[in-house]
Amino acid sequence: MSVVALAAKGLTKRFGGLIVNHNIDLVLARGARRALIGPNGAGKTTLVGLLSGAIRANAGTIALFGDDITRDNPARRVKRGLVRTFQVSNLFMQLSILENIFLAVSEQAGVTRDLWRPTAKRGALIECADAIVEGLGLGSDRHRRIAEIAYGRQRLVEIGIALALQPKVLLLDEPAAGIPTGDVGILLRAMEALPPDIAILLIEHDMQIVRRFATEVTVMVQGRVLATGAPADIMTSAEIRSVYLGAAGQARFGLTADHA
């Protein structure tokens, strides 16, 4: 019997006359590894925005481990354990990797009320931040400023910040976006090393990553959930492929689709 980490019911979002998310139901159990795929314009990013609190839904509810968070702002949701990473890096560019992660660690630990003790004396917290940095393979750059490191490594820092916040539910928004194919392996290893009891929702276009990482896949099309199932089933389903590739595309690409 699995614990439900995140339950969204009937989420709807309208922009003027355009319904971008229509009556979306999404349930993530603890430890879930769910990928959210769909053609561009399907409404995936909007859904993540609704879940993270950046956008307010027109209808529907969201519950985190049974507690209703529909009215909570993003900061509150973070404090409750619902964390999101960003498709476009939103880091502290002039600060070092270690400092970036430390900001998240110290906020999570609640020590920012301390106006007195020098930060450098907080060895445990700094070690904790450093452990995350090491765990992502960023140790050699730990004191370098974000603005000076490769983009692929910046995406890893995004994940590092998310980890530092000790999430119970993690929304990964296209973590591989912009990473050269050669570096994807590092990202995958980092993702696989994520604590097993975190429920993770991954938006991705790269089917390689989806296949290796996800145990379930949800397909969204035109603002609705089309199907949810195991990756193998979803990816061989004729219906899904026609949605992505169209009939002509299917004929061209045959049975396997590496990229959606």
């Binding site: 973070v78 502290f92 400092e99 900001l103 106006l115």
Partner: protein, 327 residues
């Protein structure tokens, strides 16, 4: 692990050259006994600029309104003395508390803004306080100001000499104490969070940081320091007038800080003497050339790039002292 010297996590470290400034400040007492009055006002201005550094250099709040807290502290100190409480130290402290309370009241509203709206609102608040002080002449003495300010000997022992010697040391000690305090606070996890807010306030929110609360705390601390500066102004001049609320003073503080370098805490302490000396000498030369000079200097400092005098010194020194640890 050893943290690099520039890391925001190691702000508590005392630089090797720091004692030099304090030594020089102490030397002034012995070397320029005839100029201690102006020296005191330089120190007070340095304190005022320091208050700017807290909000601007650390929290990234661009405000033109700290003169308000300077003025509130100044008048509060006057009222305290006129009301009969002649003890200087506690008087100054109490006056600064009034400033801090004002900041606590204004902060939660004003600090929701950034950029131009924030500048405008802080400018507007400054103007309102000025006009209010002007109109409430029964309270502030209006144009004439308040002048029957009497202080009992410091710590019951040191008399306030006409030459201003006691006053100078009094101000210097306050400056030292406040500086040490601020340094401590900026090195704490709270100070680190503030700098995070300066770098990317949005992301701090998304990390769950109570951004507005942190900003208000920094604003209150800054107001306290500005309030002490104002109180000391009144105490050392035995007078307070409308000038404490003027826009000039706010701009002065900002300029001094920018000249010296923002964010290093010593920026104000270096910028203030440089600014005041320049002002003094150029006004002797020709009162109008002062504005040319300060305008040109501002443009030059901005064009020169990061860091003001401290920044330039830092670059020069690192040539001399060798490269700093990797940052």
């Amino acid at each position: 692990m050893t943290l690099p010297r520039e890391s925001i996590l190691s702000r508590h470290r005392i630089g090797a050259l720091e004692p030099v400034w304090w030594l020089l400040a102490l030397l002034v007492y012995f070397v320029f006994p005839k100029h201690l009055a102006i020296a005191s006002s330089v120190l007070i201005m340095a304190m005022f600029a320091l208050s700017f550094d807290v909000v601007l250099g650390y929290a990234g709040i661009l405000t033109l309104g700290n003169a308000v807290f300077f003025g509130v502290g100044a008048y509060a100190a006057a009222w305290i003395s006129i009301a009969g409480w002649h003890e200087a130290i506690t008087g100054a402290f109490a006056a600064a508390v009034v400033s801090a309370l004002a900041a606590g009241a204004l902060g939660p509203f004003v600090l929701r803004l950034t950029g131009l709206p924030l500048i405008m609102v802080t400018l507007g608040i400054g103007v309102i306080f000025f006009e209010a002080a002007n109109k409430a002449a029964w309270l502030t003495g209006g144009d004439d100001g308040l002048s029957n300010i009497v202080l009992s000997p410091l710590l019951g022992w040191f008399r306030w000499s006409l030459s201003g010697g006691t006053a100078y040391l009094y101000v210097l000690v306050w400056l030292g104490l406040l500086f040490a305090l601020i340094r401590r606070v900026m090195a704490s996890p709270f100070g680190v969070a503030l700098q995070g807010i300066r770098e990317n306030a949005d992301r701090m929110r998304l990390i769950g940081a109570p951004v507005l609360r942190h900003l208000v705390v920094s604003y209150v601390i800054s107001a306290f320091v500005a309030g002490i500066a104002g109180a000391l102004w009144t105490q050392t001049n035995a007078f307070v007038g409308l000038g404490v609320f003027s826009l000039d003073r706010a701009i002065d503080g900002l300029v001094m800080l920018a000249l010296g370098g923002v964010g290093g805490l010593y920026g104000g302490l270096i910028g203030a003497p440089v600014y005041m000396l320049l002002k003094h000498f150029s006004q002797e030369w020709n009162p109008h050339y002062w504005m040319f000079l300060i305008g040109g200097l501002l443009i030059f400092v901005v064009r020169l790039g990061r860091g003001g005098i401290l920044g330039v010194l830092g670059r020069v020194l690192s040539q001399w002292l060798g490269p700093r640890p990797v940052s």
